[in-house]
């Protein structure tokens, strides 16, 4: 458990050549990635792409078949209690219905950690003040999910894993959750997020890795994923004879020329780059994840 120095000291997660097989099939087939401290990093990909397997290896729940993994400077396969006290985990599966109340559950979990936060503060942060005295069994699925998030946060982790955290949330709850995550990130927490939702990755992540068939198909900022920022743009406008659209590498020049030909405003002008969803679907199709 040596503290990394120099160029890697600002790395919360470092993965090189990670491999995991189930039976004869490779679930994770050589993944390299780095997550910097303070970064919100999203793993995006279809079901079966290897997101959860990768995250569970990072969390110390699963063994790996090959590759090097370092999480907060420690190999998760050998992470002890001190290491666990520095990470928070919100797993994909929702917590079990229990006869404990929200407050009892969160207060109890706070006793496991050396630097626990005030349970009341956590309850307020996930918006469960009104349910604090309710038993978990009586909560809705979305409310129980917020308890999961609270339990992941109560130890004030340096690194938080969120595995598909907003599945089953209504749009309002999802927005509120995004605000919470943005606040945590603003306070310097490193967050590794897996999600199906492109808008979620776009709203929260500093960088996104797209996983397809156990490999990283692309990695970058949401705005630049797979060369999105420099990809050909579509310029569309309304001409007297109907709508026009042109695909061009130089949209600025094209629009300037178009403006000159119109002698001013171009009716219905729009310049669009491929959306994150376009690039995502392209990437996973290219990589054979959709069959």
């Amino acid at each position: 458990m040596t503290q990394a120095t120099g160029g890697t000291a600002d790395c919360a997660v470092r993965v090189r050549g990670l491999r995991k097989r189930y039976g004869g099939k490779a679930a994770v087939d050589g993944i390299d990635l780095q997550v910097r401290r303070g970064e919100v990093f999203a793993l995006l990909g279809p079901n079966g792409a290897g997101k959860t397997t990768t995250v569970e290896i990072l969390e110390g729940y699963r063994s790996r078949d090959g590759g090097e993994v370092s999480v907060l400077g420690t190999d998760p396969a050998r992470g002890g209690r001190a290491w666990r006290s520095r990470i928070g985990i919100v797993s994909q599966s929702e917590s079990a219905p229990s006869e404990l109340t929200v407050r009892e559950m969160i207060t109890h979990f706070s006793t496991y950690y050396p630097k626990a936060r005030d349970p009341e503060e956590i309850i307020a942060a996930v918006g469960l003040q009104d349910q604090a005295a309710s038993r978990l069994r009586r909560l809705s699925g979305g409310q129980r999910r917020r308890v999961d998030v609270a339990l992941g946060l109560v130890g004030s982790p340096e690194l938080l894993f969120l595995d598909e955290p907003t599945t089953g949330f209504d749009p309002q709850a999802r927005r509120a959750f995004w605000d919470l995550v943005a606040g945590l990130a603003g306070d310097g927490m490193t967050i590794v997020l897996t999600t199906h939702y492109l808008d979620e990755a776009e709203a929260l992540a500093d960088r996104v890795a797209v996983l397809a068939a156990g490999r990283i198909a692309a990695i970058g900022t949401p705005g630049d994923l797979g060369g999105r920022a420099t990809a050909a743009a579509t310029v569309s406008w309304q001409a007297p004879d109907g709508p026009h659209a042109v695909l061009t590498q130089t949209p600025t020049c094209y629009v300037t020329e178009l403006a000159a030909s119109f002698g001013g405003e171009i009716p219905g002008l729009a310049v669009t780059r491929p959306s994150l969803e376009d690039r995502y679907l392209e990437l996973i199709t290219q990589n054979g994840a959709l069959t």
Binding site: Y61, S63, G80, A96, T111, Y113
Partner: protein, 281 residues
């Protein structure tokens, strides 16, 4: 989630982990709270042996052989032993299988809580529930069935170690069996079947020496027979030795058989318990 409070940044000083025993004690309190909130299990655990005790007290009368010992007092010792096995072996085995199936174990594995603290909590639960069970059964026995509490300190000491050894052995055995039962759904069957069979052949409901020799020999391989015998030595007069198979309470052998089961169960627990986390057994 309308009122979002921003979390204040965590403090960054050096840390010491909370002690395992303290967390174990807190887990014990939590387990007890959970147990008493599950009303069905409370009723089943405490009411069933009391009902059996009262029912058998109505059905069976008379003395055992020429010993002059009331049969109702004979089976009080047995029902206390079998109650102890139910609060430890059955309850712990079913409870741990449920924790595994509903994700509780997995969630705990993701925290810095140690496995030891988890088992300390379960042990506290088993001990508290068992002590309560025994107290209730003794009270009912004394009040309704003419049971006489032991008069000599020696017998109380025997009671103490037989209870403790029996509770620990049956608890570990329950945990060991829960490693074999894969789901919460199969656990009650996997645990209750041996429990019920042993109850019938170990001298709980029938005078042990009246059972067929073959069944006696099978029962003698398992802990419940010895637990019953140890408790009979506490609550019944030595006149009864005339109908004990060995004409002796065989307390040394009680300790030996329970001890062997304790060690064997512990080995199975340590080797088989799947904690679902790496870097730790």
């Amino acid at each position: 989630m309308t009122t979002l409070v921003r979390l204040t940044p965590a403090r960054a000083e050096a840390v010491t982990l909370p002690s395992v025993l303290r967390i174990g004690a807190l887990r014990g309190m939590l387990e007890i709270k959970l147990f008493f909130r599950q009303r069905e299990s409370v009723v089943f655990t405490f009411a069933l042996p009391v009902i059996l005790l009262v029912l058998f007290g109505q059905i069976f009368h008379g003395k055992i052989g020429h010993t002059g010992v009331d049969f109702r007092q004979y089976f009080i010792a047995g029902i206390i032993a079998s109650g102890l096995m139910s609060t430890t072996f059955v309850n712990l085995g079913v409870g741990i299988a449920a924790d595994r199936t509903d994700g509780t174990l997995r969630r705990l594995a993701g925290t810095p809580m140690s496995a030891t603290a988890y088992f300390v909590g379960k042990a506290i639960l088993a001990l508290v529930v068992s002590a309560l069970e025994v107290a209730i059964l003794l009270a009912v026995g004394v009040a309704l069935l003419g049971l006489q509490l032991p008069a000599t300190p020696g017998r109380w000491i025997t009671f103490g170690w037989v209870f403790a050894l029996g509770a620990v052995t049956c608890s570990l055995l329950g945990i060991a069996v829960s490693c074999v039962a894969h789901s919460a759904r199969s656990a009650p069957a996997v645990l209750n079947l041996p429990y019920l069979v042993l109850s019938f052949i170990s001298g709980v409901y029938f005078v042990f020496s009246s059972l067929p020799k073959g069944l006696q020999q099978i029962a003698a391989l398992f802990p419940l027979k010895w637990l019953c015998q140890g408790l009979r030595s506490v609550f019944l007069p030595d006149r009864l030795l005339a109908v004990e198979p060995a004409h002796s309470w065989e307390l040394g052998r009680v300790a030996l058989v329970l001890g062997v089961w304790l060690v064997a169960s512990l080995v199975v627990c340590v080797r088989m318990f799947r904690w679902q986390r790496l870097g730790e057994q």
